[in-house]
Structure formats: structure tokens, C-alpha cells
Amino acid sequence: MTMLSTTSAAELPGAPAGAQPGGQPGKLSGLAATWRRLPATAKAGAVLLLVFILAAIIGPQVAPYAPGLQTPLANHPPSGAHLLGTTATGQDVLSQLLTGIRLSLELAFWVGVIATALSVIVGVTSAFLGGIWDEVLSLLTNVFLVIPALPLLILLLGLLPGKGQLPTILVLAGLGWPWGARVIRAQTLMIRNRDFIAAARETGERGWRIIVFELIPNEVSLIAASFVNTVLYAIGASVALAFVGLTDLSSFSLGTILYWAESGNALQQSYWWWFVPPGVAVALIGTALVMLNTGIDELGNPRLRDVRNATKIAGRRIWPTDPTPVLAAMNGHRGRLASFMHSFSRGSLLDEAPLDKAGELR
């Protein structure tokens, strides 16, 4: 479910990175220009994500209690002393949440870094070397793409003796790279035949220099998209794995809080303050990442972008359904829904402009 919004990521233009209109006097103003071009959804996603990253950085310091500290105040609803209530063993939910966000984001970040690095290596190598390498690596990528990851993760983590943070990161990263690899391979195949690569080759540049300095800078947006996607996958998978108990249960991540809430019967007793905050946190992090990804998609695909400044005539939105203002005016006497439904009917082909009583065109 994590990989759905990348359709158009493959269509990102191969324009050289940083070649924004208006030149690039400095790195920072370039960043500012990119930010201004970002669609609203992407901005909202970035801000939301930033809030969670901040919470992850300062959270453990500002947490009012130690997350594991047990107090006699068990299953207490939110109050002044415990803003989000307490667990069955009297631990402070807010403190657990702040620590949990840190641990979960940390894990997702490292999975994202390792898996994206793997997909860049596999994707670029496969497309750049071509021939038998390409055949083998593409086959490997596609095989890993169709083998369902979560059951394999459950199998691996279920069999592994140690279930700490590190094995989870390695296993998640080891299974999270194929999607990115496939997209990056397709893009590299396209760029590989461009003139500037040929020029670099003619001047005697070595293969690795071409890859690092010519090729990869042109795939930054694609790599960013696949990083965001991988982080999304890592959050979802790690929380699910922790929820079923396949992790180090003595640490506090968003998933383990949910695990303890479930095994502490928070559900049957309606202790909502115990399981709702971590779940909502996961959902919000997921939303932020999906929004960010949609934004990256829009940045690369002008058609998605143009939707926002679509035609308006006299304050009236002109849909693709009503190609001309005349047609829009003809449908004016109908309500929004009625005119939409009408546009499906055969009668809409024979539409006449509505006449008033005197037979004049209104």
C-alpha cells in the first residue's frame, strides 16, 4: 500500500538538477526557489513531517517522565500530571510517545538510506553496464518485487534469534530496495544516451566519475521520491512487525506501544488514550510522506501541476466535461450534480440553449 503514489515519478524530466529558471546565485536561494515552486500539499506534508522530526530530536529530552517509569497510577485517563494518561503499569503515555517517535523515525530513516543506496547501486549498475549484468540484475529486482515482503519479513524475524533494532533495519532495507531500483534503472537507461554523457566519455572520464558526477545529479528528484517511498514502507512495516511482537519489546517505538496497549487489553477496557495517540502519530507521519510524494510527483509532471490553475471564466470553473464556455452557460440552469449527470446522457449531444418564455436566448 505504500508504493502507490509513484506512478508519475518515472516521468520526472531528465532536466539537469538545479537548472531552475532565474539562474542560481547561491545554493540557499535555489532551495528557496524550489520551496516556492512546491505545491501546497507538498508544503503541508513537509511542515507536518518537520514537526515529527523535531519531536523525534527534542522529544526524549522534554518528555516529562522516563518512558519505562512505572507509577502506582495505572490506566489513568489524561490529566494535568499525565497529559495523555497512563498505561496499565502506570507509565506515562506522552513520554512513551515522544520516545517512540524518535525510535520509529530513526529506524525508518536508516532503512530509507540503506535501501535507497542499494536501489541506486543496483539500478545504475544495471542500466549503465547493460548486457548480461542488466539481465541478471533486472531479473533479481523483479523477483524481489513480486515476492511479498511482509510475510518474508515475518518469517525472517521470526526465525532470527535476536530481535533488536539493527536486525530489523537490515532486514527491512534488504527487502525494500527493488521498487526504487526499477524506477532508477529506467531513468538511467534514458539518460545514458544523452549527449552530455557521450561528451564526458569522449573526454576520457572514467566510468565511476561519469556515474557520480554526471548521472546521479540528474536523478536527484527520482532518488528523493524513492527515499520518501522507502521511509513510508519502513514506518508501516516496522510498526506492523512491532505490533505482532517481532521486535525488541523492551524498547519504546510506536509499534511496541501499540503492542503493549493491545496485550494490556486497552481495547476491551476502552483505554483510548493508550492506543489512539501512537496510531494517529503513525497515520500522520504516513500522511506527511504521502503528501510529500504527491508534491514531488506534481513537481515533475506539469499536467498534475496545471490542475491547480485550471480555466475559470467569470468565476465559473470550466471542467474538461464542458469544453466551451457556451456549453457551460447552457448547463447553467442545472445544479452542479445535475449538470454532471446530464453530461453523460445522449441528450447532452442535442443540447439547445435554454430559451425563456418569449423564445429568446437567455
Binding site: T7, N142, I154, G236, F243, L258, V290, R317, S343
Partner: protein
């Protein structure tokens, strides 16, 4: 046909990789797995120990190649021997009771979610910037919710608070026995509404977002504008011109995403105590029931591969370019 054959060869390779990984993973682990299982279940017969050792490659089993060939034979007949946790019954017997539950629930609700999500995506894309399209951030939030968390909330609100639906299980075992009786089927449907709703809601959003994006891109194509200019009714333009082409990436995505959907649904079964293979897999993990884990992993992998193959066949039927590529070859 050639395309189908090539894809078939690819799925065979994928299946072989999964089977082989399944063979080597327990063998690469430290410690004596079988001893641990035997210690946990003292009433196991020595014959069960033999079967376990053969499956997991413990003890003196001959060369690795010999073991591998034996294992392949087991996989082809789907015979994973007796189940150490529920001793007298075999892994197969237990699975054959549970597969129908998961297949009915997850299969049906995935298809429903795909159809509804794609339909909403077509509408949102066709009227991009409209009211449905403006609600997209809300759908992104729905997509971000983990399956099992939505399941928890549903149980809390709809089953515990308002008592509209039963809390969990596949059916009320006190009143009904599984069979083709109206009472049982009605009861099973009653129990499956909440889990199905969970799957449909969370996976629908993803299909919708993707379809909307492809649809918006497709509507900008010249042939859609031409179709409108010809004066074709909207119904035709939307469904036979725009949506039909926008469906193709969506279908490909369906094949790839089905693994994630199924995986999410497996964890959800735990929340609802639904008697399917997801619950069984997680129980098996908790009990160190390795034969069961291996069998379920292979079963899910095969199911996903078959689903992918069906998608490929649909693609060949739906996309003339795939057929044209064959002719060109």
C-alpha cells in the same frame, strides 16, 4: 502467447527463488531448532522429530543436494508433514481449514477496494480540482493509517461501544458449525463486515490516488481532446477513451501492490482473531512453529504470483501495445 510464456518463465524463477530461500533460511540459523521445538512440545512422537529434522535440515540428513531434492518433492506435493504444535494433525489439514476464510475475506475486499478506489479515482481525475479532488488530503490520511490500527478503532467504536458488530472471530462457535447453512453463512458475513470494511477503506485510498493522477495525465492527451471535439458523449470519452488507457498502469500497480495489501490484511486478522492464515502465521511465529511458518510463506507467495499472472493475462487482453510488441519481436 509468447509474452505470456515469458512471464510464466519469470514467475517460475520467482517461485523457485522463494522456495530456495525457504530452504536455506532455517539452515543458516545458529542453534538446534528441532531440539527447541521438541523441548517445547514434550508429547511429540519420535517420527515427528524425524520429519522436522528433514524439513529444517538438522542432524545427519545426507548431502545438502540430497536434502534439497527431497525438500523440492515436499514442496511440489505441498506436504509439510505433521504440525508440531497441533501434533496429530498435519500442516496441510490445518491450512486447508483456514485458507477459505482468508481467501474469501481478503480476496473479495481487495477486489471491492480496487473497483471502488479506481472508480472514485476516475471521477476525481476527470473533475480535477473539484470537490472530490479537494478531499484528497483526507484520503491520504486514510492511506497513512495502518490497517491494524483502523481495525482497533473500529472494534473500539462499532463493536465495543455501540455493539453494532461482533468483536472478532469468524463466526460464533457456540451457535453454529461451519457448513452450507443459512444461519452459518449469515453469521460469518456478519463477522466479516468489520474486517472487510477495514481492508476496503485503507487500501481504497491508494488505488484512488494513483488512478486520479494517471487520469489527470491521460485527460491532457490529444486523443481525449479530439474525442471531445468530435462531440462524443462524456460517458464514452471518460470510460472508453480516458479511463481505459489510464487503467493500464493501475492494473500493473495492482499486481505489484497486492503483496502489500495481503500482508496488511494478515496483521489485521490478528486484531479481529479472524480464523485465517494471517492469524495462523502470527501464532506460528509465537510458538516457533517453523513448518507452519514456511508453508504459509510459500502459500502467500504462490497466491501473489498467481494474482500477478492473472493481471498479466488481463493486460495482454486490454493493451494492444503488449500484443504488438510480440509481433515486432
Amino acid at each position: 502467447m509468447q509474452f505470456i510464456l515469458r512471464r510464466l518463465a519469470f514467475y517460475l524463477v520467482a517461485a523457485w527463488v522463494a522456495i530456495t530461500a525457504n530452504f536455506f533460511i532455517p539452515r543458516a540459523l545458529p542453534g538446534n531448532v528441532v531440539e527447541a521445538i521438541m523441548a517445547k512440545n514434550p508429547d511429540l512422537q519420535p517420527s515427528a522429530q524425524k520429519a522436522l529434522e528433514a524439513l529444517l535440515g538438522v542432524g545427519n540428513q545426507g548431502s545438502l543436494w540430497h536434502q534439497y531434492v527431497h525438500y523440492l518433492g515436499q514442496v511440489f506435493t505441498f506436504n509439510f508433514g505433521p504440525d508440531p504444535i497441533n501434533y496429530p494433525s498435519s500442516v496441510n489439514q490445518i491450512l486447508s481449514q483456514e485458507v477459505p476464510w482468508t481467501l474469501a475475506l481478503v480476496g473479495l475486499s481487495t477486489i471491492i477496494a480496487f473497483v471502488i478506489g479506481t472508480g472514485l479515482g476516475i471521477l476525481a481525475g476527470w473533475r480535477a480540482g473539484g470537490r472530490l479532488d479537494k478531499s484528497l488530503p483526507a484520503w491520504m490520511f486514510v492511506q497513512g493509517i495502518p490497517y491494524f490500527f483502523l481495525a482497533l478503532v473500529f472494534i473500539e467504536v462499532l463493536a465495543v461501544k455501540f455493539r453494532i458488530f461482533p468483536i472478532g472471530q469468524g463466526f460464533d462457535a457456540e451457535y453454529y458449525t461451519p457448513g452450507w447453512t443459512w444461519g452459518f453463512i449469515a453469521n460469518a458475513i456478519d463477522h466479516s463486515i468489520l474486517p472487510a470494511l477495514t481492508i476496503v477503506l485503507t487500501s481504497m485510498a491508494g488505488w484512488m490516488l494513483q488512478m486520479r493522477n494517471v487520469m489527470v495525465t491521460t485527460i491532457g492527451e490529444d486523443y481525449v481532446v479530439a474525442a471531445q471535439a468530435k462531440g462524443l458523449p462524456n460517458r464514452r470519452v471518460i470510460f472508453t477513451y480516458a479511463a481505459r488507457n489510464a487503467m493500464l498502469p493501475q492494473l500493473q500497480g495492482f499486481g505489484l501492490a497486492i503483496g502489500y495489501v495481503v500482508a496488511g490484511a494478515l496483521v489485521m486478522e490478528l486484531v479481529f482473531s479472524y480464523p485465517g492464515i494471517g492469524l495462523q502465521l502470527l501464532n506460528a511465529v509465537g510458538n516457533d512453529d517453523y513448518p507452519m511458518m514456511q508453508a504459509i510463506f510459500l502459500l502467500i507467495t504462490f497466491a501473489v504470483l498467481v494474482a500477478n499472472m492473472l493481471v498479466d493475462i488481463v493486460l495482454v487482453l486490454a493493451d494492444p501495445r503488449v500484443r504488438a510488441r510480440e509481433v515486432a519481436r
